[in-house]
């Protein structure tokens, strides 16, 4: 118990230090380009943390990132580098459109059906990855990235030819009112409770069940896991499948859980990058579900707040770079320990 407390303390100190370095890094970038970093950061936090709308918007941004962060974290905990959340989120989003937009069901049932179906579609999209990994040894980075592209074009095709909104061809059918999470305020809906609940559930699965123990054991020491009889095929399938459930829900959250569009655009502009941003979230959150709750909110604040830096006249592309630097520094400790583990494990 004391050891855990010490580790927690250590990671808190580390986090504080890298937060500082990250912000200093962003500040240096701004100074180089002739902007006032203090004013920019002030504006960023004043806009996103010191107003009710700002908090709601930041939380709304955090919802999908929490889930895609989980996808990556479960992979790392089980020893796999799962970057498939991106494509699985697209699939989840179209899954949500199919149920929420094109089928009529009573309230409640409709919402639940859309939520579950999108999660399952996201998870099914992980099966080829697992199968290729388990039986053909194809590295998951290769297969997930390929499937991300397939998902992108498949979803665009489905919207273009089957699920477009008549008269508004730029987007898919919007979720019917019976399949929408109710709005709390600004862009935040009650889907955040489902999301946090799911995240805590994953925490329990990973740390309080035999299955979770097997996943984590495989992740930290595959040899030992095999020695004690853990079925590695099961581990592969389950870790990618659970990750797919999370990513599918992330995609769905943009359809049935975010006003005012309640649908995806054909460009997929409102789901694109959710998966990749999730990697940063997972790394900042130390690949721990509870850490991810906080890190996703942190990134949500940055993403929402960066428009205030734009408002000061900072080039929009530079605001992306500043956020990138902050996220990069924040990810470093976990990235370092992951690389260390990889090198030690590889010996």
């Amino acid at each position: 118990m004391l050891g855990m407390f010490n580790r927690l303390k250590k990671s808190i100190i580390e986090t504080l230090i890298v937060v500082l370095i990250g912000f200093v890094g962003g500040a240096i970038l701004m100074i180089i380009f002739g902007y006032d970093p203090i004013a920019a950061y002030m504006k960023l936090f004043k806009g996103s943390v010191l107003s009710i709308d700002g908090i709601l918007e930041s939380l709304a941004n955090a919802v999908p990132l929490m889930l895609t962060g989980l996808t990556f974290a479960i992979g790392v905990r089980s020893g796999y580098f799962n970057v498939g959340a991106e494509g699985q989120a697209y699939m989840g989003a179209i899954g949500a459109v199919i149920i929420a937009g094109s089928i009529s069901l009573p309230y409640g049932v409709h919402l639940a059906a859309a939520t579950l179906f999108s999660m399952i579609v996201g998870a099914l999209w992980s099966l080829p990855v697992s199968a290729l990994k388990a039986w053909r040894g194809v590295h998951e980075v290769v297969s997930t990235i390929m499937l991300n592209w397939i998902a992108l074009f498949l979803v665009r095709y489905l919207i273009e030819y089957y699920y477009y909104e008549p008269g508004r061809a730029e987007r898919a059918l919007p979720a019917l009112p019976t399949a929408r999470y109710s709005v709390i305020g600004a862009s935040l809906s009650t889907i955040i409770f489902v999301t946090i609940g799911f995240t805590i559930l994953i925490y329990f699965i990973l740390w309080r069940t035999t299955l979770g123990y097997e996943l984590r054991l495989t992740g930290s020491n595959p040899e030992a896991a095999r020695y004690v009889g853990v079925n590695y095929v099961k581990v592969i399938f389950l870790n990618f499948f659970i990750g797919g459930l999370a990513a599918g829900l992330a995609g769905a959250s943009q359809v049935i859980g975010r006003p005012p569009a309640w649908t995806i655009y054909k460009t997929l502009g409102n789901v694109i990058n959710l998966g990749f941003n999730g990697i940063g979230v997972a790394l900042i959150g130390r690949n721990h579900p509870l850490g991810i709750i906080f890190s996703s909110i942190f990134l949500g604040i940055l993403l929402y707040g960066s428009r205030f830096m734009q408002y000061l006249g900072i080039d929009p592309d530079l605001t992306v770079a500043i956020n990138g630097i902050i996220v990069l520094f924040l990810s470093l400790p976990e990235l370092y320990s992951m690389v260390k583990r990889y090198i030690v494990g590889g010996k």
Partner: protein
């Protein structure tokens, strides 16, 4: 700058302190954490306090906020033109424009909202129909601010979703009379065919490549076809004979209602039409450039002298088809041509883009700002049920506000300048050749065709402005069916 440096120095020393603390044993570490947190809170709090106490006291300018869609800056058409309108408003009215580029669709609402929250901002402009829903939500939330949308249909959404609030008094959809502009370029196209056929060419058609079949595009389609019909009748009137091939040929149809290559349907007794002169394809996409190429290629093969781009980026596909023909035949100049849309696209492939149907998004932003500054914005919203339509000869409360025109040599400069700026912004090569070369080539092309083509264009524009002719507006299924029966 100096402030920033001082704070940097403070942060660095703080960081060093923390690093050293890590060497101290267990119990004092708790203390270290507490000290660190206190330090950070103190620094942040101090800076906050200091900043708030020395707020700027400069005189406040009226601001307008322009929120782009995800195309953003450097798209050379829609968004760039909107920002250009803001630049002009800055110059002419002394307002300050705040630019907000949306990176994803989820940015629309928050971007509109931070504009609305700034007390100095009097007008928030959303650029592009994708922002329609977001504008409605934000405009309802901030009833004291004025909102304008370019090409949006926000008030229709208000009508559907919040019928008791329709029309929202602080929200203006700015639309354009694309059917009139399309008629202008349709006329140019068919007269071009007539002119080159006189010189021995064989051009029985003009073409149109459309995007997804939505009612807005029907406006373009019928306007374009009607313009061709008007032009061929104009030719007949002026020269006393029908235009060679495109005016007289019997390939377009035969039967009881056909007379000398014209269609005289029972619906319009005593009136005949040049039916079937336009080859048209709906590609079903606004993004797949290859579809533009695939659609344009057979049109040119059938003898279309010019193909009108009504599908945004698909114009690049049409351009590709033209380039191939030009290379195969060693041409320096059309025919074949294509026709640009929205912006002045004549510079994209100088000598091969005969004219562009310009939709002056910049004027939309400019006029909206003007109305706000003159205090007339809400009156106009009230008078027109929230929709301001800019076109040819538009008058709003006694002030001319035009938004549609055929491209001219004169306005080519502005758009070349836009290309120059886009090159700076994106670091990519945008212009096909130097600005002067482009201008020379476009002028050469315009001079190479008969001057009466440009005269006819000016005449049609003038007649539309004076209301002497009425370009049909097809916006419903019934209307489009009716006009397709007549014009093909």
């Amino acid at each position: 700058m100096l402030r920033a440096k001082n704070v940097l120095r403070k942060l660095i020393s703080l960081f060093t302190v923390i690093l050293h603390m890590r060497k101290i044993d267990g119990i004092t570490r708790v203390g270290a954490i507490v000290v660190t947190i206190i330090l950070i809170v103190a620094v942040v709090g101090g800076v906050l306090y200091w900043y708030m106490s020395v707020g700027p006291a400069a005189p406040r300018k009226v601001k307008i906020a322009v929120v782009s869609d995800i195309g953003g800056r450097g798209d050379l058409s829609f968004n760039d033109m909107a920002f250009k309108g803001g630049d002009e408003a800055e110059k002419d009215f002394g307002v300050e424009m705040v630019e907000l580029v949306s990176k994803v669709e989820a940015d629309y609402v928050p971007n509109l909202e931070i504009g609305a929250k700034d007390p100095d901002v009097k007008l928030i402009v959303g650029v592009g129909f994708l922002l329609s829903d977001a504008l409605v939500e934000v405009a309802i939330k901030y009833p004291d601010k004025n909102f304008a949308g370019i090409d949006t249909y926000s008030q229709d959404i208000v009508k559907e979703k919040y019928p008791d609030k329709y029309p929202l008094p602080n929200l203006m959809d700015i639309k354009f009379e694309e059917h009139k502009g399309s008629a202008l370029v349709g006329a140019v196209g068919c007269l071009l065919a007539a002119y080159y056929n006189e010189k021995g060419g064989k051009y029985p058609y003009i073409g149109g490549v459309f995007g997804i079949e939505i009612p807005v595009l029907w406006k373009f389609e019928i306007g374009y076809k009607w313009g061709c019909d008007w032009a061929l009748k104009w030719y007949e009137n002026k020269f006393g004979h029908k235009a060679p091939i495109i005016g007289e040929d019997s390939r377009y149809g035969t039967g009881p209602n056909w007379k000398e290559g014209m269609y005289c349907p029972p619906e319009t007794p005593g009136q005949c039409w040049y039916k079937g002169r336009v080859l048209w394809t709906y590609t079903g996409t606004f993004s797949d450039i290859t579809k533009g190429y695939e659609a344009a290629k057979p049109m040119y093969a059938k003898g279309a002298i010019a193909v009108y781009n009504i599908a945004g980026p698909l114009g690049l596909g049409i351009n590709q088809a033209v380039k191939e023909i030009a290379e195969a035949r060693g041409l320096k100049m059309g025919p074949p041509f294509w026709i640009g849309v929205d912006a002045n696209q004549d510079w994209i492939n100088p000598g091969f883009v005969v004219v562009s149907m310009m939709k002056r998004v910049d004027k939309g932003v400019y006029y909206a700002t003007k109305l706000v500054l003159e205090g007339k914005f809400r009156d106009v919203v009230k008078q027109y049920n929230g929709v301001l339509t800019l076109g040819i000869g538009t008058q709003v409360m006694g002030t001319p506000m035009e938004g549609i025109s055929a491209s001219t040599l004169k306005d080519l400069d502005e758009f070349i300048q836009m290309g120059v700026e886009a090159e700076k912004l994106t670091g990519k090569k945008v212009l096909p050749m130097g600005p002067d070369e482009i201008k020379a080539k476009v002028k050469e092309m315009r001079d190479s065709v008969a001057p009466w083509i440009w005269e006819a264009l000016a005449e049609l524009e003038d007649k539309i402005r004076k209301g002497e002719v009425e370009v049909p507006l097809a916006f419903t299924k019934d209307a489009i069916d009716y006009w397709r029966n007549i014009l093909g």
